[in-house]
């Protein structure tokens, strides 16, 4: 008897069992993303998404010169300073001694750690070929279960996601544009922490939070629900505050940001080349260098009180790869005219096709729990029209929970693309009701500093690329078909050869990235 005999015999088992196995799975078990350390090296073209949100507080700082730096207010405070040339150190206690050495080796600027975030420990995904895999797997799963307990916290964010997506993505014209709802949410939540009074209230209102405490709890849960760094799947929301060494800051607030938002705080000489480089290096480290070009343009000036940076880095492969030899060259009817591009082709035998009054949609699974959704406006309907369409926006954030859907064979034809987008969110945030933070006369950031400060700029950059193996996406933000018709019975060609929308959802089904592709 050989294995092939068993394979043949399995083909003849009780037909009732075979039929039952083809029915939908009876129960939904815990959703735990899969990770494999052994695959890490093969991830060069996996799905990756990065967003950097940089928020700068401006102030009239002329005259204060070199004021005394923040004094650690109690033993145990985190305070380490590093100077690449004069090696001045003022260390009390640090949770991770030497981390700045790793972050900024050779930089001549002083960068001092005021608060260091500690990410949750996560057991690495074990090597499946090693002895003791079971036990290691159980340890890994226990850690994943802890993270899974946070899921669902972002359920109340649909309103913010819908309004902000329509605001920030509309009006792209003929350009590509992308936005990371989850990353901007995290930056705004931290903005609420450092603001006070009605400045804070406007941010709470936009995020639909009843109180700062409720927002803090929600943001903490959202961060954890989306966090994974076990060597096989990476999904990390990272944050840091870069503070002017001449300004007095509230250490308690920095600690709250470190403990609840996993945001580290650094202090140095604003506007100095070394400090800018340290900041850029941190950004490049968090984003895998995907946004290097844009990151190089992020700098501070001596009048900057603080720059808040948040990044979202997500990377995964398609569950089923596109075969490179099936990629064809064809015409994409772009917003600015026809262009020739490479189309990846794949058939999903058990795909799901969705439709609305003015669009059709389908999705492709990513390893782990991620998914990429493609929304194609009907012929004659523009992307902007969909962004203003309640039904279409509802679909974008529904994560497949949609009445008009059908399982059938879907023949995907998807353009390969690598898009970058840079947005100034200032005007959009103001139109969404966050006005006081930008108003020099009204802005209240007393939760962070007694120095007069206001929100100067909010820049947001995104990069998303997909190929046969997966999607690569990066982003930063700097605050300095078928319409209503039923689909065919068995099979449909889903051809993305004109401007379309996409959404990348993560472990908690929340939208990590949403974008418009006008020119692949």
């Amino acid at each position: 008897m050989k294995a092939i005999d068993i394979q043949d015999a399995i083909g003849m088992v009780d037909p009732q069992l075979i039929r039952r196995a083809d029915e939908p799975a009876p129960t939904k078990v815990k959703e735990i993303p899969a990770r494999r350390t052994t695959r890490r090296l093969r991830w060069t073209a996996a799905v990756a998404a990065v967003l950097v949100l940089a928020v700068s507080l401006g102030a009239l700082l002329g005259g204060f010169g070199k004021q005394p730096p923040v004094t650690p207010d109690a033993p145990g405070d985190v305070s380490t300073s590093v100077d690449g040339e004069d090696t001045q150190h003022t260390t009390t206690t640090t949770k991770k001694p030497g981390i700045l050495d790793n972050l900024f080796p050779g930089l001549t600027a002083k960068a001092e750690t005021l608060a260091e975030a500690e990410y949750p420990e996560m057991a690495p995904y074990p090597n499946e070929r090693e002895l003791g895999f079971d036990k290691k797997y159980d340890a890994w799963q226990a850690d994943k279960d802890k993270q899974a307990a946070y899921r669902g916290a972002g359920a109340g964010l649909t309103g913010f996601f819908r309004d902000s997506t329509a605001t920030f993505l509309s009006g792209a014209g003929t350009a590509n544009r992308a936005y990371s709802p989850l990353n901007v949410y995290m930056a705004l939540a931290m903005l609420a922490e450092i603001a006070d009074g009605s400045s804070r209230q406007q941010v709470l209102d936009l995020l639909g939070a009843d109180s700062l405490a409720a927002l803090r709890q929600q943001a903490h849960a959202v961060w954890n629900a989306n966090y994974s760094d076990d060597g096989a799947e990476i999904s990390v929301l990272a944050s840091s505050l870069w503070l002017n060494e001449g300004v007095d800051f509230n250490k308690d607030t920095l600690d709250v940001l470190a403990d609840n938002y996993y945001a580290s705080s650094y202090r140095g000489e604003m506007g100095s080349d070394g400090f800018n480089k340290a900041m850029q290096k941190w950004l490049n480290e968090q984003t895998g260098g995907l946004l290097k070009e844009q990151v190089d343009g992020i700098t501070t000036d001596p009048n900057t009180v603080m720059t808040l940076l948040t990044t979202l880095y997500y990377r995964a492969k398609w569950t089923n790869w596109f075969s490179a030899d099936k990629t064809t060259s064809d015409t994409f009817h772009g917003a600015a005219g026809d262009l020739t591009c490479s189309f990846m082709n794949r058939t999903e035998s058990w795909g799901t096709y969705y439709w609305g009054d003015r669009f059709s949609a389908s999705s492709l699974a990513l390893e782990g729990q991620g998914r990429m959704w493609f929304v194609l406006p009907d012929e004659g309907v523009s992307v902007d029209q969909l962004l203003a369409d309640d039904q279409a926006m509802g679909f974008l954030l529904a994560n497949g929970d949609w009445e008009n859907q059908k399982s059938l064979k879907v023949n995907f034809k998807v353009p390969r693309f690598d898009m970058q987008s840079k947005l100034d969110l200032k005007q959009g945030l103001q139109s969404l009701g966050v006005t006081e933070c930008f108003d020099q006369a009204k802005a209240d950031f007393t939760a962070l500093t007694t120095t007069e400060a206001w929100l100067d700029k909010v820049q947001h950059g995104v990069r998303v690329a997909i190929d046969e193996e997966g999607v690569t996406a990066a982003a930063y933000t700097e605050m300095t078909l078928c319409g209503s018709a039923m689909p065919p019975e068995d099979e449909i060609d889903f051809v993305l050869d004109r401007p379309f929308l996409f959404v990348i959802t993560g472990a908690d089904d929340l939208p990590l990235f949403i974008g418009v592709v006008n020119q692949p």
Binding site: K2, I18, T347, S349
Partner: protein
């Protein structure tokens, strides 16, 4: 159309049976064949051959579960085609990988009996599958009957790929033990 009505049409030698089969199970059969072959043209041919086999076998056959009957034919045709295509070298794809996994059920060093009939083996495996919890049984059949990929099964069951791998590994170990107990090998 109800399955018993379709079977009735076959027995009446009414060609409407073929059309009804195509409409109801064409997509299902194609998915089985494509899962094994990863080739659209080959899968289409297997499905068409399945209709021919069904026409030839009914009557006298009176399948209890029409979908499983048809699926079994498609699976066999697709596997035959696959093995023919990969006779000289070890092939890729889910069929080859699942076969390699099943080799764990016939451990190195075990004395196996070559004379075991396929039907006897199938009966032993059926009996074993009936002892399993539903999820474990379904996952095993999705992998080794339908030849689904691990990722597809994980998606279907809303869980991680690692969990599916563990489940399958444990099921294979239990099957190996069961076959030994049944005297298929020792």
């Amino acid at each position: 159309m109800e399955d018993n009505r379709i079977v009735e049409l076959y027995h009446q030698r009414d060609e409407a049976a073929l059309q009804a089969t195509r409409e109801k199970y064409g997509h299902y059969l194609y998915a089985i064949a494509y899962g094994i072959l990863q080739d659209a043209g080959g899968a289409e041919e297997c499905v068409n051959d399945t209709y021919l086999c069904a026409w030839q076998q009914m009557p006298p056959q009176q399948p209890r579960v029409l979908s499983a009957f048809l699926g079994t034919v498609t699976r066999r045709l697709a596997l035959d085609r696959y093995r023919q295509q990969h006779a000289e070298k070890r092939g890729g794809g889910v069929a080859a990988v699942s076969l390699a996994e099943l080799e764990e059920c016939v451990p190195t060093g075990a004395t196996v009996y070559d004379g075991v009939e396929c039907r006897e083996l199938a009966a032993a495996i059926s009996a074993f599958l009936h002892t399993l919890p539903r999820e474990e049984c379904d996952v095993f059949l999705r992998r080794y009957w339908y030849m689904d990929s691990i990722s597809a099964i994980a998606q279907r069951n809303h869980c991680s790929q690692g969990r599916i791998r563990i489940l399958l590994m444990r099921t294979r170990q239990k099957l190996c033990k069961h076959l030994q107990q049944e005297g298929m090998m020792e």
